[in-house]
Amino acid sequence: MSMVSAGASQIGRSLPRLEGRAKVTGRAEYVHNLRLPGMLYGKIFRSTVAHGRIRRIDTAAARALPGVFRVVTGEDICKVIPNPYYGPAFHDQPILALDKVYHVGQPVAAVLAADPHVAEQAVQLIVAEYDELPAVYDEVEAVTSKAVVHDELKPAGAFADLKHLQGRKNTNVALDYHLRRGDAEGALAQADHVFEHEFRTQQVMHTPLEPFVSVAEPRENGITIHSASQGPSFVRVEIARLLGWPENKVRIKVPYLGGGFGGKLYIKLEALVAALALIARRPVKIALTMEEQFYQITKHAATLRIKSGVSKDGRITARKCEVWWNGGAFADVGPRVTQKSGFSACGPYDVDNVHIDSYALYTNLPPAGALRGFGIPQLCWAYESHTDMMARALKLDPIEFRRRNLLRDGRPQATGTLVHDTPLEKILDRLAVRLNWGAPFDRGNGTVRRGRGVAIGFKAVISPTTSMAIVNVSADGSATVYVGTVDMGQGSDTAMAQLAGEVLNLPAESITVVHSDTDVTPYDMGTLGSRSLYHMGHAVKTAAEEALAKLRALAREVGLPEGTNVPVAELFRRKYGMQAGNVIGTGSFVPSYTPPEPGTGLTTNVTPFWMAGGAGCELEVDTETGHVRLIKLVNVADAGRQINPRIVETQLSGASIMQLGFTMSERMDFEAGQMTNASLADYKIPGLHDLPRVIENEAVESYEPSGPFGAKGVGETATFAVSPAIANGIEDAVGVRLMQLPLTPEAVYRALRAAHGTPLGEE
């Protein structure tokens, strides 16, 4: 039995992206381009204070503006959604502010008008008065601060491990996660050397070039939401919960995304447009400006304290990590970051005695969530800077020191889960080769000094999560794959087609991928954390295998012998008398998982697979100005078996460039909770001229036995190690150590001056 035979394997093909042509010719669908008959535009009036009780919202002038359809406040929302609080971990975020505001930029009211310019103008006519409350901005201060962001913690029902926080008062700690393995205190006391350092990272933004956008369309019997969302299934569940409707009355449709990076997960604008559409009884669209994105969701700033005991022979015997995550005003998925990444705070090292405390904090800043790496880049910044500092102090080669301590397959990670199929050492070896580590290195002279650095990190894919898929073989033998995975630029449609094509023996480009319409595509937990290729990939493979089995059964049914080469179309013709019917295979996947023990955080099965990535760089520092110029950046990663090597490479280079921005220039600046650089003119992402002359990307030979055709995820891997590799390179070049991101020329220059005993004045 054969269809249009693929001939060659679909796995390992560098197939160009299926949607590439539509995108570059401007034909791909985006929510920004969607206009519905009778649609109103919503514009948001935002809080100007960081923490306050709302005394009065005066919307009269806005309402009186010709062309304004309606002005909506939090109280109006309550009429359609009586309990309008949402959030994946805590139900702490109101659709529009009710009695209190928690951060500058929080939505307080919305104006609806047929003309977005009128709505925008009306927003400027709204006046709100607040009784300001004491506010807290720093994550460490938030632990003990008298200013308390939320009066009471409201964990969402979904997570069993948050139940004990229900109703807790007088605290900014949204979650505290603890891991205790061995006896860290004891081992530290006995260690030959003890090192302790504190690192910080700054708050940054995802900066998808397509800002957040959602459209809600009330229907006779339900509601349709078109949204640039990475997690349509979650959005459906949450909107259904808010409205008190069954899931099948809520339809979430997602076309392509212009980037997401973890920002477009969970509820963002969807609840607001849904409420507004139900109030107005007309379709409502809200599209944020680039500037407004800074108030929607960000990446956690963090303070990380790390202490290690090292033996005479350079083995790390104990490690104590304390991490404070600045979650901003709403928890979003921060508590997950705190826990699911917190447990790898110790890094990819084999340490017998580990003590981790990881805290999710509320503060009065814009909320923080997941951003490409889910906390790992912050952790890796700390532990890999720390690693280099120790190697330097111990006069050990940094690569050799790492090699001595790396986790090997079969050894337990801090949680007790055995590491498997994670080629950490191979990555380190390849970094050394690509940097020509053993050879003499030109260190520059005069005012230009050269250095190099490496770093390595790893991440456990978040677990347990669920994916479902449908594969439909039509009567002519062509195939369609239905998945909730959102292709936001990472190439998932192409990869899913390759997986299905491999099973069905069809060329991937002949397969149609229908994605993300909750009335059509089955459940998926979300396109996040590099989970889709593995989880959805499994579901697609299983669904395709089921379809294939059904085709074989069909062949038997129409009287054909096993292994027949009669075309699929002929099977359908024989069965149904004409080109009719179809065969449907379904697949679902959820990996096995053992929850950590509450007291110790230990478990034997914390994740189905680990993703490892390293970075190395060569750079030069201008000692007169502190300018750092990257000459070469090397990313080496473990992607399991590569389904599409070209896409793997672009994921690696893209992720590393994104992290380069977070390392060198990006920083949200605040004064008393007010962001002072909320525009791309003053918040600088890297441009082409900021890239290193050479970026090398390599995915090492690797195979994940539990993955579909040996694959594992790769979307975040090249973010992990970039920041510490560069800081390590700077110290190598000029002997100064930066403990805080970003590594701006001024920061480097100040460190140089401080090292010379002539510190630069602060003004």
Binding site: G446, T625, K684, G687, R750, L760
Partner: protein, 292 residues
């Protein structure tokens, strides 16, 4: 956006008559690249904009036989960049334009708007000031000439009255002098500069007869550094004297803090980059003007 009147005069005279000396919500608009951003950000709400783009002949560019450069205020930066002979006559302008925003902006942004906007982070004002350029200012009753050096009154402020327009910019020939502009960015390459240094040097080999040194971006307006100029006058551009010029520059300059850097850091940048700009102009040191 609140509706406003858009006037499209055909002559300079008509344009001036539509301006209003007393009303700050009436403004000329040229390329709109700066003004539209202010409108989008809600910091400027016009009642009337006078579009200058249809003013006849206002975009003329002339590079005269004696190498004087005359620019109509409406000449776009892109057209200037593509002017025949510019690279030979004013290599420093050609080079400055290459890293001034991007080709899309340069194709609409005008020289008049670039000067009148008076954002101290702009690249051309210090260059034109150092080159001794002058602007012709047209008002309701008369025309006057103002040196670019004296055009700026402060942060985002010029000496223009509300009913005056920049009509023309004229740059005297560079002759045998040599010039350089150094744009120092501290975040991304396409960021606004933390410091701009423009130098025009009259020298015999390394022996400086006269130097015009202007800094911008670190200061609230393009600023001549007299002490640095004095340190260079009649001096050989060797490392000792360049260092002295840098020291002089750093001690006289009043820097301001902004997201590109603190005031004290910018002072250090001035110290270093005045010397680098001189080296760059004279072809000493490496391509960035760093000591060899």
């Amino acid at each position: 956006m609140i509706p406003f009147e858009l006037a499209e005069p055909r002559s300079l005279k008509e344009a001036i008559s539509l301006l209003d000396g007393a009303d700050e919500t009436v403004r000329p608009i040229a390329g709109g690249t700066a003004l539209m951003l202010m409108m989008k950000a809600g910091v400027f709400h016009p009642t009337r904009l006078i579009a200058l783009r249809y003013v006849a002949g206002a975009n003329a560019i002339e590079l005269a036989g004696d190498k004087t450069l005359r620019l109509g205020a409406l000449a776009t930066l892109g057209a200037l960049e593509r002017t025949k002979g510019l690279r030979d006559a004013f290599p420093v302008i050609a080079q400055t334009l290459r890293t001034l925003s991007n080709v899309r902006v340069r194709n609409v942004a005008t020289i008049g708007g670039n000067l009148a906007h008076a954002d101290p982070h702009m690249d051309l004002p210090p260059v034109l000031a150092a080159l001794g350029a002058q602007v012709t200012v047209a008002g309701p009753n008369c025309e006057r000439t103002v040196a670019v050096e004296n055009l700026f009154a402060g942060y985002y402020e010029t000496v223009l009255a509300r009913n005056e327009l920049i009509a023309q910019v004229s740059v005297p020939p560079l002759g045998s002098k040599r010039a350089a502009y150094v744009k120092v960015t501290t975040r991304s390459a396409d960021d606004w500069p933390a410091l701009g240094v423009a130098v025009v040097i009259d020298a015999e080999g390394r022996n400086v007869r006269r130097a015009d040194v202007f800094v911008s971006a670190a200061t609230e307006k393009p600023t001549r550094l007299k002490a640095a100029e004095a340190a260079l006058r009649g001096a050989e551009a060797d490392e000792t004297n360049l260092k002295r010029a840098g020291e002089a520059a750093a001690s006289e300059v009043e820097t301001m803090a902004d997201p590109q850097g603190s005031a004290s850091y910018k002072k250090e940048l001035v110290r270093v980059f005045v010397a680098r700009a001189v080296r760059k102009a004279l072809g000493l040191g490496d391509a960035q003007g760093r000591a060899g």
